[in-house]
Structures are given as C-alpha cells and as structure tokens.
Amino acid sequence: MRRVVVTGIGTVSALGNSTAEFWSRIAAGKSGIGPITRCDVSELRFKNAAEVKDFDPKEHFDDKTLTWIDLFCQYGMVAAREAVADSGIEFTPDLRENTGVITGSCLGGKVAEDEGFRLLYQGHRSHQPPTMIPKAMSNAVASQVSMEFGLTGATFTTSTACSSANHAIGQAFWLVRQGTLDAAVTGGSETPLTWGSLKAWEAMRVVSPTTCRPFSKDRNGMILGDGAAMFVIEELQSALARGARIYAEIAGFGMSADAHHLTMPRADGAAKAIRLALDDGHLPVESVGYINAHGTGTAANDSMETAAIRTVFGAHADRLAVSSTKSMHGHTLGAAGAIEMAATVLGIHHGLLPPTANFNERDPDCDLDVIPNEARAVEVEAALSNSFAFGGLNAAIALRRWNGSNK
C-alpha cells in the first residue's frame, strides 16, 4: 500500500505567525490566551481569547487580493505558503495535475459577513458588495491556494464544526494513499472572533470567563481562538526520491458519528473514531505513546474523552501521555485539528511531548497522565490527534514517527 508522509508545516496562531514561533511556545508551555481586542467586550460574559497577534495582511497580500479574501482565508494562505516553502516541494506540471487542496473551516468568512449583514440590516447600506460571496465561502482557502500554486487535483472543503480540519486532513491522506492524488496541501483555518459569533458562543454557555484548563479539576470552559495550520503531505516514495525532510508519517484515519445529541458528546462515538484510526493504520494500541486530545476544557468533553481513551486503550491508557494544546492556542474550531496536528507532528519529530498549560489540579474523572504545564522529552512510536464536533461528529488521525525506513 502507498504510504503518506508530512513534509511541510505552516501555522498562524495565537502562539505566533510562523511554525518556529509556534513550536518554541508549545515547547515552553506558554499560553497565547489574553484579553479580546477585536471588539468591545463590555457586553460579553467572557473577556479572553487566543487571538492571532501582529498579523498585518498588507505584508502578505496586495490590495486587490485583500479586497477579495477574508481574514480566515488570509491565515490559511499564509500557512499554506509557509508549508509549501518548508517542504521544498517543486510543483512540476505533472505534479500540479496530481496535487489537491483540501481544507477545513467551520464558519467561513465571518468577519466580512458579520459586518456586511450589520450594515445591511441596520439600513446603513442597501447593497451588498460583490466581494461578500467569495469572501464568505468556506472553500475560499482551498480555491485561493489552488490558484496560487496552480494545483488542479481534487480540491474541496469540509465543514464539520470542530472536526472540520481533521476530516479534511483525513480525506487528503486517503486520497494520496489510494493514488487519486500524489500530494496535497491540507489543513484548516478559522476566525470566530467577530461580534456576531462571540455573542452566539456566549449563549452556548461553554466559554470560560477566565482561561482554558483542560483536564484540571477547576476547568470552567473553553477559550476561543483563531488561526490556521496547513501541511504538505506526499506519497512516501516521491518524498524520498526528492530527498524531502519527513516530519512524520500519517498512518491512519478514523471517523464516526455519535447519533446522539447536538452538544453532549458520547464516549462510545469518540472511542469508535480512535479505534478506526488505529485499525486503518494497523497500529497496535501499545504503539501509541501520545494523544493530542480534543481537550476543550469543558466539564463534559474532558471526562468523556478520558472515558473514551480508557475504553480503547485499556491498561495501556496508564502508560501513554495525553495533553491538550488548546490550553495555549485556544479552540480554533475548524482549524483546531490542523493546529493540533502541527503540535503532534512536531512533538513526534522533536521527541518532545507538548504539555497541558494552565493545569492546576488533578480530576478523578480525568485520571490520565496529562503532561501538566511542562513539555516532556519522550520519543514515541505513534501518536493520535483527536477532534470531536458539536453534532457528534468525530475524527481521529494516527501518526507514526519516521525513523528513516519505517518497516
């Protein structure tokens, strides 16, 4: 069977606007959560988010392009450019034919849409600008990246709330493995930090008034974040033939639906996705040394996820490490799986497991080794990155360390 490897990584997040900054902050356990600056929060019950900072669109795009792309698309484009440059891949005419762009986004271009609708509904203008539809469409990143690099293979966007990026990366992985594509640019991008979205999240009563403390007994909710992560993934033999640096192998992918409830997650649905990812990659449970958890920091998710991990791994659950990097880069919804896969892949590559920041106190309902507050130097053979969405849609990616041959 064809095998698929990660050869390029690009990130934009609250931890910095490059992958070097992202990894140095993850490795140091430094959280990017702070006061919301994008809008006036006096009428909002929560005040903090993990915002992308010091991102100047004009540094990256000309005026004409900026007229047509919203902030989430700008993040996705900048991350994709970094991933492509990082991979060193050369898009020849043949390779362009067989490379696709598969991205995840839950919300699409909400910044433009929110403001446009406000002006229209409040009667400040009677027309919508022609830029609105292309700015708001969730596939904007996939389309723009395909145009920028001339990639004409299978290209589309998945939108499954907080699992969007994992579903996208999973599809890209399968398409490369089955031979439909030879390479893909894949990941996710999002910004939920608009007034309309923030007020909608407020009504869900799942956002912390303080900070995100996954698995900690005193956790009190999630923290929203924005950003993007994109990858170049390639078929193994072609990556080896061009002498590419290989960060890790994508070994398996699994997905499931809880078929239960819009917002209350179920452990059996999550466990099914994890088990399917391991089966898909022919990975024994004992090979997994690290799980980058969905770990939102809500009461419901973290205890459910603990139960799901115990169901799948049995006694091995006490021998593996689990962390939630959402404690540092926040919950970026449709970008979450991608940003978390970046943390996981870099963790495997560098032999350093990302910590759970802001951790205070062990919770008997989350009795796993959650790598509290400090990264840990451990070389793991395999790792998982989990995403579980509102609506009960689960997606897990299994990754394997690349040791130069991976028999």
Binding site: R45, A203, R205, P209, H261, L262, T263, M264
Partner: protein, 91 residues
Amino acid sequence: MNATVEETVRRIFADFKKVPIEEITPDTTFEELGFDSLDGLNLVFELEEEFDLMVPDDKVAEMKSVRQVVEGIEQLLAAKESENKEAATAE
C-alpha cells in the same frame, strides 16, 4: 413572588412547550417538562430577551423549576435596578 414576573415566565414556558398557561405552575420542574440541556439554553435566551437581562452561568445552574427561575429573575432585576439607581446618583 412578583406576579408580573411569574406570569411572564409561565407564559414563556407555556409557549415553549406549546401547552395552555394553566398547565405551568410555580412548582413545575424542568424535569417534568422533559427539558434537556439545549431546551434550557433556549429558555434562558428567551428570558434574557424578555427581561433585558444577562443571566450568569452560575445562576442558570440554580434554575431547575419555574419558581427558581422566577426568583432568579427577580434577584437579577432587583440588582439591575439598584445599579441603575447608583448610576443615576453618581451622575
């Protein structure tokens, strides 16, 4: 209980469940009405809109019956009124 607040809360519950208002009494519980967590979120939203209030998360957790909702809303309305008075005095 303030009759106006109680009547309004009962009406909101009755509209939500599509039942006559007589079926909703102060002792009616969320459990009896078969409310799940999403119904609860929606009801609190309706209450916030109706009374022009912001109901904090810890208050929501205390509301399990019509009576508890009415008492909670009355407390929040009283707090809001005294805040407004303080603001007026400060000016």
